[in-house]
């Protein structure tokens, strides 16, 4: 049933021939939707499993324009699929569900859905889905146009000397960047009214192939040395610009960090795409109380701060120590984003983790028997470094399905390290001091101290984990290697100073402690920040920190096994 449609898309008949992929586990709906879409003259492919859908999207030469997916599916959560598609293929995704609860819809939007349809879906709603494809194309063109190259260059210049080494920014390159921008502007202007598919000349579409080239280039260069220009040169794709690569690199890093979190039971952050133009100021520190001895309790703190103007100290360690529980390690991610010159995003992660007294507990590896210690793990690589700052060895856990929290089109980078199953812990961590030169990104973080106790983590380099110019030395940093147990008690103490260029005061940093119970999910919005809170049955005494995780991504086992280390990272948000 259904007429076969021509695979080429005549420009004048747009949106006819739009290539749609539907994913729904309900066979009845699949059939109905297929029929409806065909009646709209779209080209339809159906799929009842999310994993199949991903496979199709990754493998097929034939590309798709848009994906429609149900939210509740047996093999994979629709939101996860949404993230994957958004990142890997950069396609607009529409979610569907019979459940129209506000929180669900919000979740969809946060994960990057461009629309959320309620079942029963009417044909007229499907007729209009082409607008999302069109809009996306327009938006991407505008992004190219709007790149503020001058700002980027300023940042690069203001950074420490190492930055320039890495990025080789010089006059010629700057002027060529400007030229490219002009050309693209012109092209955009000419083609604005045409079929958006022809506008592809002015912007790069990150196809699976192209992405693969990109990944290969990154691998080749070595993640610690990677930079947009080097990737660009290595990829050797005509028409590809440095900006394209830079923005894709951002996304990629984000993806990996989320993957990371996923693997490590990290909590992902949902951060809105609009970012702030503020800078960090003040001190941020979490001191672990020294009275944490045997009974480590683990809490994970995760916080996301979107606009931040202030660093409030949060989480009294003292409070934390009162928490008696076998609470599984929660995840600590604190992120701070700061912008300098309107074009810079600094992201800072700090964390504090304490582990429950786990001796009695059997810890299971997250996905398989291999220990997974990841620090900014990239699926393809064994070694990688964090943003030019650190390098660490890790055992990538490659076999599991990567899943991650994905920030729709906003690119704060959250870095986290996850340790599970300390078999290889000693190999896992090798951290070098963070060079003052942080990538062409923000240089906001000054210092980090990490204190590991009862750790299965062997931090070989006891020097500064993170050190920026002018920053104080690390305090309280020492290693303590214990024998491998399942999980790792760990305390981390992070003190941080940041410098900022502006006088704006940092906003309050909110940290919440995350507990393990999955049923309770609160969605909190604090000054524009979206924070999810997991509440466990364990009472949390006045913890002012919020840990937050994606509900769907954590399971009990998951949490028990992981300890997250979050490291500092800074990121340029352009």
């Amino acid at each position: 049933m259904g007429n076969p449609l021509p695979s080429s898309r005549p420009a004048e008949a747009f949106p006819a021939g739009l290539r749609v992929l539907i994913v729904d586990d309900d066979p009845t709906w699949l059939k109905i939707l297929e029929k409806m879409l065909r009646k709209c003259s779209y080209q339809v492919t159906t799929c009842s499993l999310a994993t199949d859908a991903l496979h199709i999207l990754r493998e097929r030469k034939a590309r798709f324009d848009i994906v429609i997916s149900d939210v509740n599916m047996p093999d994979m959560d629709g939101f996860k699929l949404l993230e994957h598609v958004g990142l890997e293929m950069d396609l607009p995704v529409i979610m569907m569900s019979i459940d129209g609860e506000t929180s669900r819809v919000m979740k969809g939007v946060q994960h990057g859905a461009c629309d959320y349809l309620l079942k029963p879906v009417r044909m007229k709603e499907l007729r209009n889905i082409w607008q999302h494809v069109y809009r996306k194309k327009m938006h991407e063109l505008k992004e190219v146009e709007a790149h503020s190259f001058d700002e980027v260059i300023n940042i690069l210049r203001n950074g420490s000397e190492d930055i320039e080494d890495r990025y080789l920014i010089d006059e010629t390159e700057m002027s060529s960047m400007r030229k490219r921008k002009d050309v693209e502007n012109k092209e955009f202007g000419d083609q604005e009214l045409n079929d958006p598919s022809t506008v592809k000349k002015a912007r790069v579409v990150w196809s699976v192939d192209l992405h693969q080239k990109f990944v290969n280039a990154v691998d080749q260069i070595g993640f610690d040395k990677v930079g947009p220009k080097k990737i660009l040169d290595s990829m050797n794709v005509p028409g590809l610009t440095r900006e394209n690569v830079a923005s894709h690199l951002q996304k990629y890093r984000l993806y990996l960090s989320r993957l990371q979190k996923q693997n490590g039971g990290t909590c992902g952050g949902n951060m809105p795409s609009d970012h702030m133009n503020k800078t960090i100021k003040g001190n941020f520190g979490l001191k672990s109380s020294t009275n944490m001895q045997q009974d480590w309790e683990l809490t994970k703190y995760a916080c996301t701060i979107e606009n931040f103007q202030t660093l409030g100290i949060v989480a009294n360690a003292a409070h934390v120590s009162e928490m008696n529980s076998r609470v599984a390690p929660a995840q600590v991610i604190a992120s701070k984003k700061a912008l300098v010159n309107d074009a810079q995003l600094g992201l800072f992660l700090s964390f504090k983790g304490m582990l429950p007294s786990i001796k009695e507990k059997a810890c299971k590896p997250l996905h398989d028997e291999r220990p997974v210690m990841q620090l900014m793990q990239y699926p393809e690589q064994e070694n990688y470094s964090i943003l030019e700052g650190y390098s660490c060895l890790a055992n990538p856990d490659r076999d599991h399905e990567p899943s991650f929290d994905h920030l729709p089109s906003s690119q704060p980078l959250v870095m986290s390290a996850t340790c599970t199953n300390g078999k290889d812990m000693k190999d896992l961590y090798e951290m070098k001091p963070l060079q003052p030169a942080i990538p062409p990104m923000a240089c906001m973080i000054d210092s980090v101290s990490i204190q590991v106790k009862h750790g299965l983590v062997n931090l070989q380099d006891t020097g500064a984990i993170c050190k920026l110019e002018g920053s104080p030395s690390i305090e309280d940093f020492y290693l303590d290697e214990t024998n491998n147990q399942g999980c790792f008690p760990l305390t981390c103490e992070v003190s941080l100073k940041s410098k900022s260029d502006s006088d704006s005061m940092p906003e309050e940093l909110h940290l919440y402690s995350v507990q393990k119970k999955l049923d309770c999910l609160e969605n909190l919005s604090v000054s524009g920040t979206e924070i999810y809170q997991y509440i466990d049955s364990v009472p949390t005494s006045e913890v002012q920190s919020i840990n937050w995780c994606e509900a769907s991504e954590l399971t009990g086992d998951y949490l028990y096994d992981q300890v997250d280390y979050s490291l500092i990272d800074e990121y340029l948000f352009a």
């Binding site: 049933m1 259904g2 007429n3 309900d26 066979p27 009845t28 709906w29 059939k31 109905i32 029929k35 409806m36 009646k39 509740n72 569900s97 019979i98 459940d99 079942k119 029963p120 009417r122 044909m123």
Partner: protein
Amino acid sequence: MDNASGLQRQLACMKKKLFDQGFLDEQFYQLEELQDESSPNFVEEVVTLFFRDSSRLMANIDQALEQCPPDFHRLDKFLHRLKGSASSIGAGKMKNECAGFREFCSEENLEGCFSSLNPRSTQLLPLLFVHASTLVQMPEIVSEGEEGAHHLEAEVGELLPVAEASRPRRQSNSLW
């Protein structure tokens, strides 16, 4: 032929009744509209798919209810699926009853759950109806002659009393 047209009239009447009483809703019209030359049996195909899926789900639900202690979470999942399926063909009452059932689940009210199943047989009505009506359109049935027509008539005739009665759940174990 007479039988067939008589049957059709009866079915048309039934259909109206079902819509009026909320067993079927607008989505069903959408399905009928989707049927065209390129997919002449569309409605029937969809309904068949629905039957298969929903009867499987209902069996799962039955099973889940019989478990001791009942697994409400699992039950809820099945119901969510069933609700989605019901919405696909426009089985309005079924959808609403699923929603009510789910509420009982969330309250972990087992009795409430059982009571939700009472009108279960009526939930099948629209399905039976649809099935019957599509059968009527099939030329083979019509040409079968009186016997075939009587058979169908009997089926349709059965539906009417069922619509108004409500049988306790346990007596209607075989759902379909």
